[in-house]
C-alpha cells in the first residue's frame, strides 16, 4: 500500500519546492507534481520535512515508568514530529552496559518512532571508571554521555575522549562543575537572590565547556555539548569552531523560550538543569541558533510524575517536558526562516547522532521514509492534559503557540495522521 502526501511544500537541505511525496514499502517512492497513492494525506498549506531527530530525550525506562515509558515517550515524540529520539542513560539501572542497551533497544523496537539510545561514559554515571563503550558501540550506540551529571575529572574525560575517538563514537557532555553547582536549584543571580533559592552560577557550566574544548583540541576527539544555556558557553563554542576544534552543541527549547524570573512562582515545573537563565543568556542561545554556533535544538524532554513535581522547589527533581512543543516554540519564538528551524530539528542533529542517510533527509526517491508534515501557521494552546506523554510537567501550560504537526511518518508508516495517533 502506498501513501501520498499531497499539496505541501517540501523543505530539506536541498531547498524548498512544491511537490507531492509518495511513500511505499518504507521508502520514498517519488517526489514530484500530481502524484497518487492508495492513501492520501492532505498537506495543503503545510511543510513536508524530514522527520525530526531529538538528541536528548529522557524516556525514563527502565526504572521510572510512572513518569514515562519508551512507548509513551515515543508517542510524545511522534506528536512532536520526531521520527527518531536518542534516549538518555540516566535510568535505573543506568544504560551503562550491553544488557541495558539491549533492553532499551528491544522496547524501542516496538515504539512508533525510532528509538536510539546513548550510553553512559562511566560506570553507573558515577564518574569513576569508564563504562564498556566498545560493547555498547557494537550494539549501535553512537553517543555517550553521563547526562544529568558532567564528567568531573579532567583526566578521566581525557581518557574517555581518546577511547571514544578510537571507536568512532561521540562524547556528549552535560557541562556542570559539581563543586560550583552543588546545592543550587536555579540560576544564581538577581532572582535567586530575591527568592532565597540557592543558585547555580553560569560559571559552573562555562568552566566545563572551557575544559572540554581544551581537551578536544588536545585529543583531537570530537565532543558534543548538551543543552548550552549561557552566553559565555556559546561564545566559547563559536570561537572553538572557528579555530577548527571539532565541537558541536545543542540548545534546549526552554533555554530560548523561558527565563529565570519564571521561578518566582516557586512552581517546580520551572526547575530544570541547567537552570533557566536571565534574558541576556536566552538571547545568546537564540543568536547561537541563528548564526550556527549551536547546531541543534534538543528537547531535554524530562518527564516527572505530578507527585514528584508537587514538592518544595528545592526538593523537586529538575526537568520539563519538551517533545510535543519543540517545533511550535521554535517557530513562535525564533525569528528564523522555516528551513533553518527544520534544519535545527532534523538534518543537523541527525548528523551528530550518526543517523545521516536514515533520518534527516534529504527527501528524495529511494530514501528511507521518515517524514514530518506540519502546518506552520496553525495556532494552538498548550494543554498539559492533552499530551501523549505520561507526565504533565510542561512549563508552557496555557501558552498560545504557532505551528502544529499534522502527520508523522516513520519507516514508511503513517503513525500520526491529522494529529491522531495511529497505533
Amino acid at each position: 500500500m502506498s501513501t501520498v502526501i499531497k499539496g505541501g511544500t517540501v523543505v530539506d537541505q536541498t531547498g524548498e519546492r512544491t511537490a507531492d511525496v509518495v511513500v511505499d514499502d518504507g521508502r520514498i517512492a517519488a517526489v514530484g507534481p500530481d502524484l497518487t497513492g492508495d492513501e492520501v494525506l492532505d498537506a495543503s498549506g503545510c511543510v513536508v520535512a524530514p522527520g525530526f531527530v531529538d538528541l536528548h530525550a529522557h524516556l525514563r525506562q527502565p526504572g521510572a515508568e510512572e513518569a514515562e515509558t519508551i512507548e509513551t515517550g515515543s508517542w510524545a515524540a511522534v506528536r512532536g514530529g520526531f521520527s527518531a529520539v536518542v534516549a538518555m542513560p540516566n535510568t535505573n539501572p543506568p544504560i551503562d552496559c550491553a544488557a541495558v542497551v539491549q533492553e532499551v533497544l528491544a522496547l524501542g523496537a516496538k515504539a512508533p518512532c525510532d528509538v536510539y539510545t546513548s550510553g553512559a561514559i562511566t560506570v553507573g554515571r558515577k564518574g569513576d571508571q569508564l563504562a564498556p563503550m566498545a560493547e555498547m558501540a557494537a550494539l549501535g550506540v553512537r553517543l555517550f554521555t553521563d547526562d544529568g551529571n558532567g564528567v568531573q575529572e579532567a583526566g578521566l574525560m581525557r581518557r574517555a575522549m581518546e577511547y571514544a575517538a578510537g571507536l568512532g563514537v561521540i562524547l556528549a557532555q552535560h557541562c556542570e562543575v559539581d563543586s560550583l553547582a552543588a546545592g543550587g536549584h536555579m540560576h544564581e543571580g538577581e532572582w535567586s537572590s530575591r527568592l532565597g533559592i540557592p543558585g547555580v552560577p553560569a560559571e559552573a557550566e562555562e568552566l566545563m565547556v572551557m575544559r572540554d574544548i581544551a581537551l578536544s583540541r588536545f585529543t583531537g576527539a570530537p565532543v558534543h555539548f548538551q543543552h548550552l544555556s549561557t552566553r559565555g558557553s556559546i561564545a566559547m563554542v563559536r570561537a572553538a569552531r572557528q579555530a577548527g576544534v571539532e565541537v558541536t552543541a545543542e540548545a534546549a527549547t526552554h533555554h530560548f523560550t523561558l527565563t529565570d524570573d519564571a521561578c518566582a512562582s516557586y512552581d517546580p515545573v520551572f526547575k530544570v538543569n541547567p537552570p533557566l537563565r536571565p534574558a541576556d543568556d536566552r538571547d545568546a542561545v537564540r543568536e547561537g541558533l541563528a548564526d550556527g554556533a549551536v547546531d541543534a535544538i534538543a528537547t531535554d524532554h524530562a518527564p516527572h510524575s505530578p507527585d514528584a513535581k508537587e514538592m518544595p522547589f528545592d526538593q523537586a527533581p529538575p526537568g520539563m517536558l519538551g517533545l510535543e512543543t519543540a517545533l511550535a516554540l521554535a517557530l513562535t519564538e525564533l525569528d528564523l526562516p522555516i528551513a533553518e528551524v527544520v534544519g535545527l530539528l532534523s538534518w543537523r542533529p541527525a548528523a551528530i547522532a550518526g543517523l545521516k542517510g536514515i533520518h534527516g533527509g534529504p527527501i528524495e526517491s529511494g530514501a528511507p521514509a521518515n517524514l514530518c508534515v506540519f502546518d506552520p501557521q496553525e495556532t494552538w494552546t498548550v494543554d498539559p492534559y492533552d499530551l501523549a506523554s505520561r507526565s504533565r510537567n510542561t512549563p508552557y501550560a496555557g501558552r498560545q503557540v504557532r505551528g502544529r504537526v499534522r502527520h508523522t511518518i516513520v519507516g514508511g508508516q503513517a503513525v500520526l495522521v491529522d494529529q491522531e495517533m495511529r497505533p
Binding site: S193, G196, Y266, P312
Partner: protein, 312 residues
Amino acid sequence: MKHLLSINDLGAEGIEEACRLADHFTEVSQRPIPKVPALRGKTVAMLFYEDSTRTRLSFEVAARRLSADVMGFSVSASSVNKGESVRDTVATVSAMGPDALVVRHRSAGVPQQTAAWTHASVINAGDGWHEHPTQALLDCYTIRDRLGSMAGRRIVILGDIKHSRVARSCVMAFTSLGAKVTLVAPPTLLPPAVDSWPVDVSFSLDAALSDCDVVYGLRVQQERQSEALLPSLREYTAQWGLTVDRAARLPAGALIMHPGPVNRGVEIAPEVLDQPNATLNEQVRHGVAVRMAVLYLLLAADPDRQPEGEAS
C-alpha cells in the same frame, strides 16, 4: 489581602496600618484579661515543618488573645515523617476547615505553594532563606515605638545576610518606609547580585557603626565554617562581632536589635545584650501584638465582604 506570603504583600501602607492596629493590640495585651472575642469561631492551624519555639508560641498566643482556636501540627508526631508530601498534609489539614494556616518550612516558597493548595489564608512564618514577614513587621513596630518613625533612619544589618530570610523581609520593609539600609558582612555571607538590592554594602563594621540609628544583628551559624564561608567564628567575631568596644562607639540612642536566637559571644557580646538600647525582649513582646494585627487583618477586617444590616 488574603495571604501574607511576603512583606511586599503589605507594602508601606499595609505595614503602617498593621502597626497602628498593633497599637490597639498592645493595649489589649495590657488588660487584666488580655483577650478579645474578635476571632471567636475562627481556627488557626500551625504548620511548622521546622522547629521554631518563639515564632510558633508567638502566633499561638496571638491567635488565642483573639479568641481563635489553634490547631497544632507537630512535625515529629505527624505523617511528614511517614513520607507524606506537603501537598497531602495541606489537603488533610485544610479538610478540617481552618481559616488560616501559619506555615514555617525550611524550603523557600512553600507558603506560596501552600496558598495554591488551600482555601484558607496562608501566613508565612519563615520559608528557607526567603522571607519572614511577621519578623520584619515586629521590627518595624519596635523601631517606630523607640524612634518615632522609620523615614530617614540609618539601619545597619549585620551578619549572615545570604542565608537570612529575616534580612530579605527587613530590607524590603525598612526601605519601603524610607530608611537607608547598609548591609555589613564578609563578602561570602552576602547574597548573590546584592547590587540589585536597594541597599549600601560595606565590609567594615567599624566604618558603618559611627553613623547609624539601628544595628540589626543576624545569627551566624557554626556550619558556615565547614562550608568554607568563614575561616573561623573567632575571626568573624574579631571583624564583624558587636563587641563591647564597638557597641560603645555607637551614637547615643542607637538601637541594638536581633531576631533571636542569639549566638552569645559570636555575633554579639553578652554584655551588649543587657544594655538598655538592646531591644531583644521588646521585639519578642511586640511580636504578639503584630501577629494579632496580621491575623485580624486577614481574618476579620475583610474589606471584600459587604455589610449587611445596620452598624450601630
